[in-house]
């Protein structure tokens, strides 16, 4: 087969789109033809040269938000909330505890001064740094009847009860393998709003309409200072749990970090006994 025909198939050959027979024909030809090998090398060099770390320009988000916010009925309280420069400071402060606040804001329509993309990056970054600095701890215990209980500590404080902590487990005899995942991705909440004043954020976890998490913010710095979780029964909302924040981590956000943390634990329980295990993040 002529080189020209072979070269016309190099692009689908490299992307793995040729039939098995055609792929073999091209591979055989390339192995024997220096010129076509050079052509393949040029293709590959183009792939490398076309690589990109291009950032999204501010102007794009601004244009996007202007067009979306101009839609009738689109602008609401949360849109105005993002215009608050103090809230923006929270988003870029990067403490572990501010992650939850950042989750709240990522749900709101953005504007030119507080891009939800940056918010998302900050939120992810906050949790990742907490993990890297060893501030996230999971405690798992197995009772004598095989019930598994998992709690989390973030920065030395109890994990807010309504941050989704997914526990999966299996056991063989007295050996329990436990997998815990803390998911702080924005999709975890179905509703975010202010409480009676702008010092309280209210979050409703997805698929948990009878639960509610309130985060109190410092009125001056707007840093989160405490959380209270509520549950609703026939008599109304009742306090379920309460805790405070004492964030230590600082630093610039890293958009490449992740919002999900997973821990694997193996607990071996003696017959008719209970056992517990603690695992602390070590930066890996």
């Amino acid at each position: 087969m002529k080189c020209e025909k072979i070269q016309s198939l190099v692009s689908p050959y490299l992307s793995g789109e040729l039939s098995k027979k055609s792929k073999q024909t091209v591979a055989d030809h390339i192995a024997d033809c220096p010129e076509c090998r050079l052509f393949v090398e040029f293709h590959r060099s183009l792939d490398a040269r076309l690589d990109s770390n291009l950032a999204v320009p501010e102007g794009l988000r601004r244009k996007l938000d202007q067009r979306i916010l101009l839609e009738p009925g689109r602008k609401h309280l949360l849109a105005r909330m993002l215009g608050n420069p103090l809230m923006k400071n929270i988003l870029i402060s990067g403490s572990a505890a501010t992650a939850i606040v950042a989750i709240a804001l990522v749900l709101a329509p953005g504007n030119a001064t507080a891009s939800p993309v940056k918010t998302l990056a900050s939120m992810k970054s906050a949790l990742a740094r907490a993990v890297q600095s060893g501030e996230l701890t999971f405690n798992a215990s197995v009772s004598d009847n095989g019930t598994i209980t998992v709690t989390g500590l973030l920065d030395g404080q109890p994990f807010p009860a309504d941050i989704p902590l997914v526990v999966q487990s299996q056991h063989k005899g007295n050996t329990y393998d436990v997998k815990v995942t803390a998911d702080l991705s924005p999709a975890s909440y179905s509703s975010i709003s202010y409480g009676n004043d702008q010092s309280t954020l209210e979050l409703i976890p997805k698929d948990k309409g009878n639960d509610r998490l309130e985060i109190r913010l410092d009125p001056l710095s707007l840093n989160p200072i405490s959380w209270t979780s509520f549950t609703k029964d026939s008599e109304g909302w009742k306090v379920k749990d309460h805790g405070g924040y004492k964030p230590k981590t600082t630093g610039a956000p890293d958009p490449s970090s992740t919002a999900t943390v997973t821990a694997h634990m193996r607990i071996i329980v003696a017959p008719h006994q209970s056992a517990s295990l603690s695992i602390k993040s070590n930066g890996n």
Binding site: M1, E4, K5, Q7, S8, L9, V10, S11, P12, S15, E17, L18, S19, K21, S22, T25, E35, L38, F39, F42, H43, L46, D47, R49, L50, D51, S52, N53, L54, A55, V56, P57, G59, L60, R61, K63, L64, R67, I68, E71, V106, L107, A108, P109, P116, V117, L120, P186, A187, S190, S191, I192
Partner: protein
Amino acid sequence: MHESQRRIAFEILYAENAAPVYRFALRLCGNKEDAEDMAAEALVQAYRKWSGYKGHASPRTWLCAIVLNQWRMRQRRGMVHEVSLDSIQEVAASFEFVDYELAEAIYALSDRLREAFLLVKGEGFTHAEAAKTLRVPVGTVYFRVHSAVHQLRKTLGSPARVQMPVAEGKVSDEM
């Protein structure tokens, strides 16, 4: 879908796709202002038509197809700015290593070759996805990408001897 759910889904779509969609628009049209407009319009359309998105194509394929339609519409209406030295700099900076030579060579391609080349080599579309986006047979995409690479090789100075295709046609992978 509830409004807040749509918003969440959209923000995730934005976080994952805004950069590549803007990059495609910038390399296609050659200037930042038009690229921002086209990428923003694609994302706005995605937001408005979210409930109609069936997930048959990846979100990026969907968004790039909207950008492509925007680009062609602008061309028909004479709304496309000329590619200037300044705008070439913006495109050159879109590569990991600022690459003026490559930016200029891409603008020396015809529109049809550039579209196919950027979809397949720039954004990693399969030839079949590009064919669907461009609404041409897949063999035509093979041909256009091949022709674009040939031309770039000639422009960018390759030591090898190459023969340029002289007319558009279809290439089949049948042997």
